[in-house]
Subunit: 440 residues, 2 copies
């Protein structure tokens, strides 16, 4: 049985086994058209209901794809290199090149100086980036971490590499811009992914801010890197250096369609709306007395994990340890946020009866934490070590290092074991008293 860091039996929270609810495939003689139609209708209903309350993931809805319905049956496959025609005619490489050119322009690299392709998602784009730079010192810069939306300082990375004596051809920088790669260019004074700086590749997810209904990604790299890797694979009459070889021809069309329909102006409006609504959510959470953080230039509002798994599931919040987040996407309107906040506020009074706020100082900074230790009434006597570790990221906070956290949990255990005023038994329905001893 899997258990998370806090010792909770995590199959209470997740590991809800799908095995039992799998939709068995039957022979055509056993089913009629009505059954099939009812299966799809039920699912559609469930998904629509899910979308109503969806807040936790970097995905977008609200887009009409009816114009593309006639394309669905075509087995579109963009084998290999997007820039090289394959003998297989049923492909959408013309759309793919259009999409790539658009991103090349966005990230400031000339059409004849870049190579790239539409991937199956952010992971493949990142893997391809790693593959491209395998012979050099490889550095991956996070342009928006998944959970807290922190942005690595690209300029600092470049400066440090230079100070350490690395010349340009000795390092390879990949910018992982899964969500923010498309946001930052539309935000004034934001740090930018630009090939005018000595970066080597950049990627973005197509199913996050752009809202493509199937996972996909875009990778752009300097053309010289692909030449080092390329080899002729005559079978598909195409030069192939992609990881997957067979690639969806539908994804590029969907991206092309979304970008064409929204345009740069539409995207900018979308992004401004997301950032404004994120600030609105942060302020309302703060006013409600909840520990909350919103990184600069981010649409990801991070706050203390609600101590109610049903509430988390209902709003499809994505949680990690003591914190949860809401990704304020285009479809997350103020009305939706209000509905969420109203429900949360109502629940807060119940939860607060059960105990104080859990401490999230390590996760989002003592200045954002309203637990008993960190609220202004209690001062900062127990949290001197947070001050040390927290200011090493100038564009946001996403400290993956758990050592401080463990240390703090040990303090909590110590307090609890002495019957102190702080209890770690207050926040989660399935949390257990900690067995951890006082730190040595």
């Amino acid at each position: 049985m899997a258990s998370d860091k806090a010792g909770r039996e995590s199959d209470v929270v997740h590991c809800r086994n799908v095995r039992q609810s799998g939709l068995r495939i039957t022979e055509p003689a056993e089913v009629d058209k009505e059954y099939m139609a009812s299966v799809f209708a039920n699912c559609t209903q469930t998904w629509l209901e899910s979308i109503k309350y969806h807040l936790g993931y970097q995905l977008d809805f609200n887009f009409d794809y009816a114009a593309l319905n006639t394309l669905q049956p075509f087995p579109l496959n963009n084998f290999g290199d997007p820039f090289t025609k394959s003998n297989y005619g049923v492909n959408s490489k013309q759309f793919e090149v259009g999409v790539l050119d658009w991103f090349a322009h966005l990230w400031e690299i000339e059409n004849d100086e870049y190579w790239g392709y539409v991937t199956s998602g952010g992971t493949e784009a990142n893997l391809q980036g790693i593959l491209m730079g395998f012979a050099q010192l490889h550095y991956q810069v996070n342009i928006g971490t998944t959970f807290k939306g922190a942005i690595d300082d690209l300029d600092l990375v470049i400066q440090t590499l230079a100070e350490c004596g690395f010349s340009r051809n000795q390092f390879y920088i990949h910018c992982d811009g899964a969500l923010f790669g498309i946001m930052l260019p539309f935000v004034e004074q934001a740090p930018q992914i630009t090939f005018k700086k000595p970066i080597d590749s950049a990627s973005v997810s197509g199913h996050k801010l752009l809202g493509c209904p199937m996972p996909c990604g875009v990778l752009i790299t300097r053309i010289e890197h692909v030449n080092a890797l390329s080899k002729d694979i005559e079978y598909i009459a195409s030069r192939d250096v992609t990881i997957t070889c067979s690639r969806s021809g539908h994804a590029p069309i969907l991206l092309w369609y979304i970008l064409s329909k929204k345009g740069r102006i539409g995207l900018q409006k979308d992004i401004q709306k997301c950032l404004q609504n994120a600030k609105y959510l942060r302020d309302r959470l703060r006013n409600a007395g909840v520990s909350v953080m919103l990184n600069e230039l981010s649409n990801i509002v991070v706050f203390e994990r609600p101590p109610d798994e049903e509430f988390i599931k209902r709003w499809q919040l994505s949680c990690q340890g003591n914190i949860g987040h809401i990704v304020v996407m285009v479809n997350v309107s103020k009305q939706k946020l209000d509905a969420f906040l109203d429900e949360l506020t109502e629940k807060l009074s119940t939860w607060s009866k059960e105990g104080a706020h859990r401490c999230v100082a390590f996760d989002i900074g003592y200045e954002n934490c309203v637990c008993l230790l960190h609220s202004p009434r209690r001062g900062y006597c127990f949290c001197f070590f947070y001050r040390i570790s927290f200011d090493n990221n100038n564009r946001g906070r996403d400290n993956g290092d758990n050592r401080g956290h463990v240390l703090y949990n040990n303090w909590r255990g110590w307090l609890w074991s002495r019957g102190g005023s702080y209890s770690n038994n207050n926040a989660s329905t399935e949390s257990q008293p900690s067995n951890r001893s006082v730190p040595a």
Copy 2:
């Protein structure tokens, strides 16, 4: 400039650059609905035309997906483990588990003894297989090679491992069944992928014989392998060991739909039709005097490369060196094959005026080659070395070793340089006289 093994400048054949024909993305203000509709209509026309003549790739058409049109706009994402519910409600894991159970049954492993998922294609399935078995001696068995449709002898592999003293827990066998993984179970007396034998994982492509309109694959592995790899990724409230994490939720629905609509009886009919039509094509090609090979249990007809690149492009034949192939899929009817054969027969007289058949003895065996050296009139005096290398595969031929070929090309060059009756200038419009010397 890339060149293939025969020394042809390969950008004559492929490397037809798509850069110039990319569909530029414009701002919404610049385009109207009619333009967008005309782009899609033009593409549809091109694809329909392509499909008419399509013969070379392992893809299938002919299926009605209209029932799924309403599902297209949903951002279906099957994050992580298919058997574990995620907090993200808009997924199709119920369909995915249905598909996996179906394949588990096909490959004879109990539902509670396997793990697997629907991948982005055959490559990801194979990579995941490699990842699963990384700590052991890893052996990948080809159940149908891409180009010639040869099948590795699984029993021989198992026997050899045993004879070499490997115990069961020291090796990991992955069966790559991209095309044939779904075919063989429906062919009597064919060797089978079965977990009753000591194999560890198996995979199949969903966009080949099953005809899914987007690339996808299925991986099935023994459950103990996933436990070794698994770790809790709480972010998506799901145990994740998949390579890509974000996975299409549309692909499992398409597979579920296709399998449900066709059923095992429908699939068996499809497969029998493919195998029969493949034999029909082989026989007609042989009667027309073309070098041709069809491996046992295969629907891939391999024959000498037509010496006309326009013809190859028109029929979207996939070619490799001296040979090309036709994958006789469900949509490749006798009528389509007849149209192809009629055109080929007509062209043959023109081509034969330009020179004799090229030698493909190394590629498909001297017994299938009708070149001047290997036709019955000329005997087998020059090809003793083929006999040595060709019989090490009891279920078909797919020899990737080119040493024999180079040796033979040297003999051809030697004959040519002595003004012998054999010319290597006969087969391809862009072939050049060989400069190769007599072998040492």
